[in-house]
Amino acid sequence: MKSHMVSLNILPIVRKEFRQIKRDKRILSILLFIPALMLLMFGYALNFDVKHTSMAVYDEDRSSTSREFVEQFFISEYFTKVQTLESKAEINNLLDAEQARVVLVIPSSFTKDIQRGRAASVQVIVDGANSNAASTVLGYINAIIQQYSVKVMTESFVRMGQQNITMPIDFEPRVWYNPELESAKFLVPGLIAFILMVTAVVSTAMAIVRERELGTMEQLMVSPIKPIELILGKTIPYTLISLFATVTVLFLGYILFDVSIKGSIFLLSLVTFIFFIGSLGMGLLISTMVETQQLAFMIAAIVSMLPTFILSGFVFPIRNMPIIIQGITYLLPARYFLVVLRAIILKGAGLSAFWDQALILAIYAFFMISISSLRMRKILR
């Protein structure tokens, strides 16, 4: 009983692609090592936590109280003291030359005000050039000062004879999904999306265009190889490589940064697969539009790397972008993929939380594959 199986002759092409990839060591290292390297960089060096901010102090009061106040800042790891200033005139140069990012100015009346039960005001000057760091730092400083203020207030109440002052509100902030607010956890899902998208789009586009540029495309078209075999044969190696890179990133993320997949691995694989297919389609589409590898690379990079990095929510939260740009982000599959990734990996959420994103990704994948195969068929004919 013979079963009618569709046999596809893709092995020779797959083998050839692998051999060619192996020969060009640089491309291989980029596809494999760079993602892991990026993970390490992001996990250890690059994060949004604003710690060890350089702070200079100009203390006109110079009392034990003011010193105690100043210490509040340096107990935590959020600030590092770089200088104690002798005069106000030094402040300008300090900030201009980026030798300190914050200057704390304590007036001479500090201790007196506190002792007399008045409001003591300090001045904080912040270098606003890096606005993200600046806002975060402002928040920290505010919190520290608040805390100290409460302490001072309580003490003054005690002095006034009131005992047992308790704060009327018991405030428990809780952070879900990423309790330590580790940037790595925020960045890992985005990194995965980034790797997949770039590999799928850039490598696919270049691999197919390379064939055309070299002239071997004609030889292949004359042979019994069907278009589908060619496409599969060319994309499978890169698929495998980027899958490997993704798994590596997840693995490293788990070992080094404790990023574990809280949700369903099956759903994760499924949605990742859909996203990948869509990106492959995009790569194929690009390959039908350009003649040289250089151009293929540039267009693929512009269309995939940049939007994914800047606009998808990978690094910069979308919510705060201008409305027009937010509108543009709706066109990016990476945006939706990122929501799903974060939901599954960090939140452990189920399909109900992201079914709409998944649906959009599926539609996008279908659309891309259809257009690109139509074009490919036209070209290969």
Partner: protein, 334 residues
């Protein structure tokens, strides 16, 4: 040297030849927009013969081959390769033909062996058969010992033979060669044609395009292509005799350029062309053509050292036919 498998083995794929004709084209036409690349070309290629397409660059040779291989679809007309229609049965055709183009389409960053493995795999060869064919191809190309050399490190002649080997690993009964000797030294060209001859003796039909006159002489049947039209068709001998209306003389003199200028205006002179240090002139069959030539030239103080009637070469035929075609075109335009 064994070129085909030693024992009598049927090629893996059988071809239903109709009446021993391997390739037939009927009014084959290809238009790109308004530009007519191939203009109603018709011919028949017998099984086992070497059929050549001769013509200048841009004449339509490559386009014709591409249509026959299933790369382009014809705008008008039809053709059958191995009995299969080129418009509707390209899949059947592709597994039964070999193709080699001027570019030699090898993967530069793969070794000799890897290239062979790849093309073998593409045509469905595997296991023992692949090994056998691989050894044959390497030996035929003279690349024994060079299996691990990268393709881009090979010089012209080796790559040419490797490309040929890769194109016939699957032992196709019909082979298409598109200007296969471009940029290759004369010795390698000679060796290459030895291989082609041998294939032909074994029954392989070979369709080759070229713009080298000396290669054209090697073909059993020759088609002259010019501006998309087939302006002559026949064996080289037939073609040379087709100029029987004309006599061709070779003239050696002191000033060929001026001499040609003088003779061109004569009513009985058809075509002149420089040939090395002498020149050829084809004249209508008039008596005393030699004397007339001698007279005109000596009158103008040109010293004539030799006038000899010759059998026209293919080049003469070619030039003559092209000139006739040009006249026809201009006449049509007026």
């Amino acid at each position: 040297m064994k070129l085909w498998n030693g024992h009598k083995k049927q090629p893996a794929t059988t071809v239903p030849f109709d009446n021993d004709v391997a390739v037939v084209a009927e009014e084959l036409t290809k238009k790109f927009g308004k530009f007519v690349a191939v203009d109603h070309v018709s011919f028949k290629v017998k099984r086992g013969e070497i059929f050549g397409f001769l013509g200048p660059n841009g004449a339509g040779k490559s386009t014709t081959i591409r249509m026959l291989c299933g790369l382009y679809s014809p705008t008008e007309g039809s053709a059958r390769v191995g009995g299969f229609d080129i418009a509707s049965q390209t899949d059947e055709i592709k597994s039964r033909i070999g193709y080699m183009s001027q570019k030699f389409s090898l993967y530069e960053d793969l070794t000799v062996e890897q290239n062979i493995n790849f093309y073998g795999g593409i045509y469905g060869l595997e296991g023992a058969r692949l090994e056998e064919r691989k050894r044959w191809a390497i030996e035929m190309a003279g690349l024994t010992g060079k299996e691990s050399t990268l393709a881009h490190a090979l010089s012209g002649g080796w790559r040419q033979r490797l490309a040929l080997g890769c194109s016939i690993l699957h032992e196709p009964p019909i082979l298409f060669l598109d200007e296969p000797t471009g940029g290759v030294d004369p010795v390698s060209r000679r060796k290459f044609w030895d291989l082609i001859y041998d294939l032909s003796h074994r029954g392989v039909t070979i369709f080759v395009t070229t713009h080298y006159m000396d290669e054209a002489e090697h073909c059993n049947t020759l088609g002259l292509i010019y501006s998309g039209k087939l302006i002559a068709l026949g064996s080289p001998t037939e073609l040379k005799h087709s100029l029987d209306r004309y006599s061709v003389f070779e003239v050696q003199c002191s000033n060929p350029v001026d001499a040609m200028e003088l003779l061109r205006d004569q009513a009985w002179a058809a075509e002149t062309s420089i040939f090395g240090s002498a020149f050829h002139i084809s004249t209508l069959n008039v008596s005393d053509a030699e004397k007339k030539i001698h007279g005109i030239l000596t009158n103008e103080k040109i010293v004539v050292s030799r006038i000899e009637k010759i059998i026209p070469s293919l080049e003469d035929v070619f030039i003559q036919r092209i000139a006739e075609e040009d006249v026809r075109k201009n006449g049509a335009r007026n």
